[in-house]
């Protein structure tokens, strides 16, 4: 397939997912029955994914899907392809949705659907997959491969979560102001989890995972456009765009890993960096700081290297100080220690790492061992550095990063 038809296919697929998600959200918000809504639209969505790349996106994509879903109804009853719940949703399509579609656009209920999927009563590990399935129409097998679990397991979790939404009466509603912050966190976290899963395949060798980063950004754009007054929604989008801008710079020509501080910044996508900066700047005017804005600000500090030629580690360290106080985690603490090492020297950095020493979670956490190895090596503590590199190498799943660490370790041997 040449790249032009590849682009056309991607555009058609994006349009199909967009319309599908809006329709599922609209139906589910009225019935609380996500499975029924999905059933009703499954055939029509499959037909759109198959046809639109060839014929182009119809002028009214949602109306097209509704019409096909409705036409399938008679066949469906005969062949019993859809469930009872699915048929009831088809009735809703025939009676209400199409009537609405004739004079106005269907109201966008996707944000409400996302809040239902990321409800505290839904197990946190399934929230992200649930959003990918209901809002974007991904099948369980695709989601399973991206999250590295078996399709059967993922399928069960998704079915269980959707049943739970209906049976426990989880509302399809954007929470009230008082609890919006906390609940929005769960939505943003689910979106970021999708992005991070895709981001962890830096070479982009697995199409499914690379797409997940794209979908994460797409969901981030959706939330930011629906909640433009929420600085953290803008902060998350900014953070994802900064990261995405550096995608190609993360590997050199030979496919080897390049750490952020050594990346060739001319390879960064300038348009994405500019957009990320603008979002972050806009979020900052709202005067409410948060985890995603701070993480985006760290990215921004790194990106400033393309203007100044150097990295301001003191500023980065201060940002990590702030992050540690509002959203402390081993990950933040390790990044902070690395920044301290750059700003004040390896001894200070190592001291900041050793403070974490007893945290059991670090035993199998690669970045901790890699950071520790790097600092020990700088201080000339070769045997300890080699030991730490061995731990880091053994814990890494990305071959390029493994090669990078092995290279560092080999240098110490000489």
């Amino acid at each position: 397939m040449d790249s032009r038809s590849e682009i056309a296919r991607a555009a058609a697929e994006a349009a199909a997912r967009q319309s599908y998600g809006k329709l599922v959200a609209w139906l589910a918000a009225r019935t609380r029955d996500v499975t029924g809504a999905e059933d009703a639209l499954a055939d029509a969505f499959a037909a759109a994914l198959e046809r639109w790349p060839r014929t182009g996106v119809p002028e009214k994509p949602e109306a097209w899907l509704l019409a096909v879903a409705r036409r399938r109804r008679v066949d469906a009853v005969r062949r019993r392809l859809t469930s009872q719940a699915g048929r009831e949703h088809l009735k809703l399509i025939a009676e209400e949705a199409e009537a609405r579609m004739t004079d106005e656009d269907l109201p966008d209920e996707r944000l409400r659907l996302m809040f239902a999927c990321a409800h505290p009563a839904i197990e946190s590990s399934v929230r992200s997959p649930l959003i990918l399935q209901t809002v974007l129409g991904f099948d369980a097998a695709t989601i399973a491969s991206a999250f590295l679990v078996s399709p059967a397991t993922m399928g069960q979790r998704l079915v269980r979560a959707k049943t739970r939404i209906r049976e426990t009466g989880i509302p399809f509603r954007v929470p009230e102001r008082a609890e919006l912050g906390e609940r929005l966190d769960a939505v943003l976290e689910a979106i970021y989890a999708a992005f991070a899963e895709g981001w962890s395949d830096p070479a982009g060798t697995e199409t499914r995972r690379r797409n997940l980063a794209t979908e994460g950004i797409w969901l981030g754009r959706l939330v930011a456009s629906l909640l433009p007054e929420e600085p953290e929604a803008l902060g998350l989008l900014s953070l994802m765009l900064f990261a995405e801008a550096r995608r190609t710079a993360r590997r050199d020509a030979a496919g080897d890993y390049v750490p952020l501080a050594e990346q060739d910044y001319t390879l960064w996508d300038r348009a994405l960096v500019d957009e990320a900066e603008a979002l972050l700047g806009h979020a900052a005017t709202m005067g409410v700081i948060g985890r995603y804005q701070l993480e985006a600000a760290v990215q921004s500090a790194h990106a400033a290297r393309r203007l100044t030629g150097r990295t301001d580690w003191v500023a980065i360290r201060e940002l990590y100080d702030a992050l540690l106080s509002i959203a402390g985690s081993p990950v933040v603490a390790i990044n902070r220690a690395v920044a301290i090492a750059e700003a004040e020297g390896a001894v200070a950095g190592l001291a900041a790492l050793y403070v974490l020493g007893d945290d059991k979670r670090l035993d199998d956490y690669q970045p901790y061992w890699a950071a520790r190895a790097g600092l020990l090596a700088r201080l000339g503590q070769v045997p300890h550095a080699i030991e730490a590199y061995d731990r880091a190498i053994g814990l890494e799943r990305d071959p390029a990063v493994r090669r990078f660490l092995q290279g560092k370790r080999a240098v110490l041997r000489n």
């Binding site: 009466g169 989880i170 509302p171 509603r173």
Partner: protein, 122 residues
């Protein structure tokens, strides 16, 4: 929707609690029950006698077996319940969180399986 709030508490700890604490707890339940009733969410609710008053009954082979004691021995015991009417899980969770037991023991929230839904789902 109708929901059950099932209250679990450590009977031994409750029995050994100082009189002042017991009094305060009763007052808190009284206020909670009153708030449920005033808001129209209250459908039913009562405290249960301790599990030592439980009788387990099972009929096997035409013979009725009566056992002294609860069905299962657990660290916390079912101590009471409320049945409430709530628009959705959020409203029900809000009521469950206000129940004094939520800050002392554990409350379990379960939707009633309405007969009409039961029949249409089966």
């Amino acid at each position: 929707m109708r929901y059950m709030i099932l209250i679990y508490a450590d009977e031994a700890a409750m029995a050994n609690a100082p009189a002042e604490a017991t009094y305060q707890m009763s007052a808190a339940y009284g206020a909670y029950t009153e708030a449920l009733k005033k808001s129209g969410a209250w459908l039913a609710g009562d405290r249960l006698r301790p599990s030592q008053a439980t009788t387990s009954v099972r009929v096997a082979g035409g013979k009725t077996n009566v056992l002294d004691g609860p069905y299962a021995d657990t660290k916390e015991q079912l101590a009471g319940f409320y049945m409430i009417e709530a628009a959705d899980a959020d409203a029900a969770i809000a009521w469950a969180a206000r129940c004094p037991a939520a800050s002392a023991g554990t409350v379990e929230l379960r939707p009633i399986w309405e007969l009409t839904e039961y029949l249409s789902e089966k």
